[in-house]
């Protein structure tokens, strides 16, 4: 008996991603990944390419990572189930973001309802490696937690993620005029609350 150890930092199959998104989508569609024996490699490649990006959007939208894994998981499951509805396979990333944003909004709404019921939930702000960097994000999420999600989501997508207004409108499934109005409204409310927040000590930052 001589057990051996194998370093396994990169556990799982080595993904050699060469196909573009459109090809991967077509491979998944044709392989019926839902069933055993489908083109699982294509799905894994697509997941490897986009999961980090989707996770980043969700994390910044939510303000913490409590629901991060669930939302990313739900997003990709729903994407596979509804892949046939994707008309432009090359645009799979914004499509995934659209799905993720909807799940995130559901989670935000759920949190808000629970908060309304219990009134005792401390808001979990985004983590940061340096506490001095965390104060602005804490303040921002404290402000965002006080505005409706229908304003928060487009504001985050436009002002934090940098999406164009028409992209935000598509993701949020509202008109361009509506999204402009909501972002403007959110900006006003966030700024008003941030201005009302006492400035945080710098903690000796240079």
């Amino acid at each position: 008996m001589c057990p051996h150890t194998v370093m396994n930092f990169a556990a799982g199959p080595q993904l050699v991603v060469t196909d573009d998104d459109a090809t991967l989508v077509e491979r998944i569609r044709s392989g019926a990944v839902q069933g055993v024996g489908g083109d699982r490699a294509a799905f894994r490649a697509l997941y490897a390419r986009h999961s980090r990006y989707v996770a980043g959007v969700v994390y910044r939208l939510m303000g913490d990572d409590a629901d991060l894994e669930d939302i990313v998981q739900d997003t990709f499951i729903r994407a596979v189930e509804r892949l046939d509805s994707l008309r432009t396979p090359a645009q799979v990333r914004p499509w995934l973001v659209t799905i993720a944003v909807r799940f995130a909004r559901g989670r935000l709404a759920k949190r808000r309802r629970r908060h309304w019921l219990r009134k005792d939930i401390a808001y979990a702000a985004a983590a940061a490696s340096d506490p001095r960097d965390r104060a602005p994000a804490d303040d921002l999420y404290a402000a965002l937690s006080q505005i409706p999600d229908r304003l928060r989501v487009p504001w985050c997508l436009a002002r934090v993620e940098g999406y164009k207004l028409d992209e935000v409108a598509a993701i949020c499934d509202v008109s361009l005029a509506t999204v402009k109005r909501r972002i403007s409204d959110a900006q006003t409310r966030v700024d008003r609350r941030l201005l009302a927040t006492p400035a945080q000590p710098s903690g000796g930052a240079a």
């Binding site: 080595q14 994407a79 993620e161 409108a169």
Partner: protein
């Protein structure tokens, strides 16, 4: 995906801090979520939630309406399953986006069963995992993991011994998050999210930090002589009296190849050296791996590990080169993106701003939206 410059607002600093902050998404999370997705996709379609029922008779519709009202009430109270509500304002529809309706639960298979223990610890069961509670007292919790993958989030309690036994591999922990995967035949895999881990297998000891994973292979026909120890990085369990926990020399070291130690032996050498804090010896072993087994698929991981070791030795330039070799060896491997970023960061730590900037720019050219993009932009523009 960029916008024209906007007028400065009070939220600008916060937005910048937020956009530049790290995203808590690592390889472990990526793999864990992928496993959850695939487990759900592999589940029978019949077990997934059915589509909304078609229009029925008036009576049925009335009953459905009552049920729907109750369901909406439950959802509103936060007791229902995942809602993912739709926007309430009609407007420009994105036809391609799959609708997520408020009353539609998410895939139940994606929610792993959870076992809550009396001490506050939680075990998430994946892949048909089976866990039996053998002991559960205030001083001692002992679980036997018979199969599958289980993610343990152990409540910190130095006064309580928490042990997971998977096919003879014992994981002892004070308080951390880790996952044990037992395939049922050939190996046990331990991956760590938080805390510091020591894995001992027949005298060879490896130290794993957060984000590391280690596979311990055992021969099924024999009882595995494997001990896995986990320490929290703050509170270490006292174990000098337990002979199983003392680092041991292997009684049966791997047979050396004619031309020198095998890859396996070198990796084991590196593991034990790291566990003993002998970083020069670990670096030497890993360097041998990268030189003698440069074509092996594990070479990229060895380069990455060498980068970590050199960084711990504060040899930042050497670390930067090791990370660079990692992504050169496997430019599309799962470690490549991280290696590119760590290479730039290590060059910056070494004070080589020119090389750091070049590496950061190279990262951004490949991963403009990557997990480390904000870090890389800060390297390029420290005043940003």
């Amino acid at each position: 995906m960029t916008q024209p410059p906007l007028d400065p607002t009070p939220s600008d600093a916060a937005r910048q801090a937020l956009a530049a902050g790290p995203v808590p998404w690592d390889d472990l999370r990526e793999r864990r979520v992928l496993a959850g997705i695939e487990a759900s996709l592999d589940a029978p379609v019949a077990s997934r939630p059915a589509s909304p029922a078609p229009r029925a008779s008036v009576v049925v519709a009335l009953v459905a309406a009552v049920v729907a009202v109750a369901a909406v009430a439950l959802l509103w109270l936060g007791l229902g399953s995942e809602p993912a509500s739709l926007d309430d304002t009609p407007g420009l529809a994105m036809a391609e986006a799959p609708p997520v309706r408020a009353a539609t639960p998410t895939i139940p298979d994606a929610r792993p069963p959870t076992m809550a223990l009396a001490d506050g610890s939680v075990a998430q069961l994946h892949n048909g995992a089976r866990v039996d509670v053998q002991v559960q007292t205030a001083e001692h919790v002992r679980l036997e993991q018979r199969s599958g993958t289980v993610r343990y989030e152990v409540a910190r309690n130095p006064g309580r011994r928490f042990v997971v036994d998977a096919a003879g591999v014992e994981v002892t922990v004070v308080g951390t998050i880790f996952t044990v995967q037992y395939s049922g035949d050939s190996h046990v895999e331990v991956s760590v999210e938080r805390g510091l881990v020591e894995v001992a297998a027949s005298g060879r000891v490896a130290q794993l930090g957060a984000g590391d994973a280690l596979t311990v292979a055992v021969q099924a026909e024999d009882e595995p002589d494997v001990v896995v120890m986990l320490d929290d990085e703050v509170t270490s369990p006292a174990r000098p009296t337990d002979s199983r926990h003392a680092p041991r020399r292997s009684s049966k070291p791997a047979a050396p190849a004619p031309s020198g130690p095998t890859l396996e032996a070198l990796l084991s050498e590196s593991d034990s050296a790291r566990a003993a804090g002998d970083l020069p010896r670990a670096a030497a072993a890993l360097t041998q791996v990268t030189q003698r087994f440069s074509k092996d698929p594990q070479a990229a991981a060895a380069w990455f590990q060498l980068g970590n070791v050199q960084r711990r030795r504060t040899k930042h330039a050497a670390a930067a080169k090791a990370f660079a070799n990692c992504h050169r060896r496997a430019p599309k491997g799962p470690l490549a993106e991280d290696a590119r970023a760590e290479s730039a960061a290590a060059w910056a730590q070494a004070g080589r701003s020119d090389k750091a900037a070049a590496a950061a720019a190279a990262y951004l050219s490949l991963h403009a939206d990557g997990a480390h993009a904000a870090r890389m932009r800060r390297i390029l523009d420290p005043g940003e």
